[in-house]
């Protein structure tokens, strides 16, 4: 027998794998949130006028983009205890994926903010907005249009990258798939089910992402060369 449909339909309803998919999703969301906070801070710091503020942020981005996330995960989970820093599986996975993601998001956020014309900052400053207000009211809403598409792609990537946490025995979808295969031997059927779960997650996210993109662009006027009727108000 080459392909066992019965097994396939059995595993596609398996609460064991389904829970694994839930854990993958939760892990991705958690890591994304950590990444957004770290990436946002690093992006702001890298735009500072002070060298000593820029440097640590640049170092962070350089370090975590320059080494494989798999190596980072293993160092955090199995290496740090040697220095007396013992993190649990879940904490290691969240921190490892989140800190790594932050380095990438920092670049995305920074390029979004630098795409906002300098005149927008100056006009905000000139009417007396403080720096935080300038960012919140003028710059970030405009940067969002640019940031959201790559941010969405980053989250799509993260849901797949989260499977790397299986190597530190985090019981997410891939780890549970492997465990199941070891006792049930339906290798292809189980892995296909697992792949379909990932596909489902990324597809649903794709739909949400296009909504978000539409929302962020809601206030974008038609391009300047689009004629406006004289009586438009």
């Amino acid at each position: 027998m080459i392909w066992d449909w019965e097994a396939f339909f059995h595993y596609i309803h398996s609460p064991y794998l389904l829970t694994g998919a839930g854990v993958s999703l939760a892990l991705s969301i958690g890591a994304m949130l950590i990444g957004l906070v770290l990436g946002g801070c690093a992006a702001m710091m890298r735009m500072s006028e002070q060298r000593w503020v820029r440097l640590p942020a640049s170092g962070y981005v350089w370090l975590f983009r320059g080494t494989p996330v798999l190596v980072q995960l293993i160092i955090i989970y199995t290496g740090l205890p040697q220095l007396g820093l013992q993190l649990g599986v879940v904490a290691s996975a969240l921190i490892g994926l989140g800190v790594n993601e932050g380095a990438y998001l920092a670049e995305i956020i920074r390029s979004g903010i630098s795409a906002v014309p300098k005149g927008q900052f100056e006009a905000a400053r000139a009417i007396g907005m403080t720096w935080p207000k300038t960012m919140r009211i003028v710059v970030l809403p405009q940067a969002m249009r640019i940031i959201i598409p790559p941010l969405g792609n980053a989250f799509n990537g993260l849901m797949k990258t989260s499977s790397l946490a299986s190597v530190i025995s985090m019981e997410e979808l891939l780890r549970r798939t492997e465990l199941l295969v070891q006792v049930q031997f339906k290798v292809l059927e189980i892995f296909i089910v697992s792949a379909l779960y990932y596909l489902f997650l990324t597809t649903v996210w794709g739909l949400i992402q296009s909504r978000l993109e539409a929302y962020a662009s809601r206030s974008v006027a038609p391009a300047a060369n689009v004629p406006v009727p004289a009586d438009a108000t």
Binding site: G119, R125, A126, I127, I137
Partner: protein, 260 residues
């Protein structure tokens, strides 16, 4: 020490460098209430930089700027800081409206939202009052029917008039204009100059950088000629425009006259 004059804005000995370039070489200017000062001069002479030091968008390297009797950027007494805080500087900037060559309207806000942005987010004016004032100002610049338009839907001249309304919404005690008509198509220049002329007649204190000599002649109380980071000549409009004493001023006015 505060200035003894009744100046709204006073610059004393302002110097500014960008890297090795010495852009402002000791500029002095006192503008009294209701006065319209026009600054002319060749490009690269430091006119924009000087305007930007007046509201501390560019911080002078030395010299002082006094606005309504307070030194711009001076740290709060007893704060122990070397510089004024961001919040303190932002508070000082509210008194100074600025209009840019490139308009710089907030592109994600409608004309009305642009005009209301300062009162709502900076002055914390209540929404109804800010709305009424913004509508009044848009009507003042002749754009009552464009309040729901985004900057991308407006012509250059219309955008610049919204930008003027946005600055006025802060009820500043002085307005700075940096070549407000230089990036406009010729047919839109007049509508913006007209708004500025109206403002001057209503007693607004203004400092204007422009190449529109005929406008300067009509609107200005005083014209300054600035070159190479210094004010080289100043005088009443008819004197400076019709019989400039300085050779450089003469050459510049001839050049501008040929260009137009």
């Amino acid at each position: 020490m505060p200035p003894e004059s009744s100046a709204i804005v006073e610059a004393r000995g302002v110097h500014k460098h960008f890297g090795a370039t010495h852009v402002l070489k000791g500029v002095d200017l006192a503008v009294s209430k209701g006065e319209v000062v026009v600054i002319i001069g060749p490009s690269g002479g430091g006119k924009s930089t000087f305007l930007r030091t007046l509201n501390f968008l560019d911080r002078p390297d030395s010299g002082e700027i006094w606005v309504n009797g307070a030194a711009m950027g001076a740290p709060e007494a007893g704060s122990g800081r070397a510089k004024l805080s961001d919040a303190g500087l932002s508070r000082q900037r509210r008194q100074i409206g600025m209009v840019f060559q490139q308009f710089n309207l907030f592109s994600h806000m409608t004309a009305l939202e642009n005009v209301m942005s300062g009162p709502i987010h900076v002055l914390k004016t209540d929404k109804a009052a800010a709305l009424a004032d913004a509508k009044r100002l848009l009507a003042l610049v002749g754009l009552a029917d464009k309040e729901a338009s985004y900057p991308g839907q407006l012509s250059g001249g219309q955008q610049q008039r919204v930008a003027i309304a946005r600055a006025l919404a802060m009820h500043p005690s002085v307005m700075l204009f940096d070549e407000p008509t230089s990036s406009l198509d010729p047919e839109m220049v007049a509508e913006v100059l007209q708004v500025m002329l109206d403002l001057s007649q209503r007693g607004m204190t203004m400092v204007i950088v422009t190449h529109e000599i005929q406008f300067a002649r009509k609107a200005a109380n005083r014209i300054l000629f600035m070159e190479n980071g210094r004010i080289i000549e100043e005088g009443r409009p008819q004197d400076l425009v019709d019989s400039p004493r300085n050779e450089r001023t003469k050459q510049f006015l001839n050049m501008v006259a040929e260009g137009s």
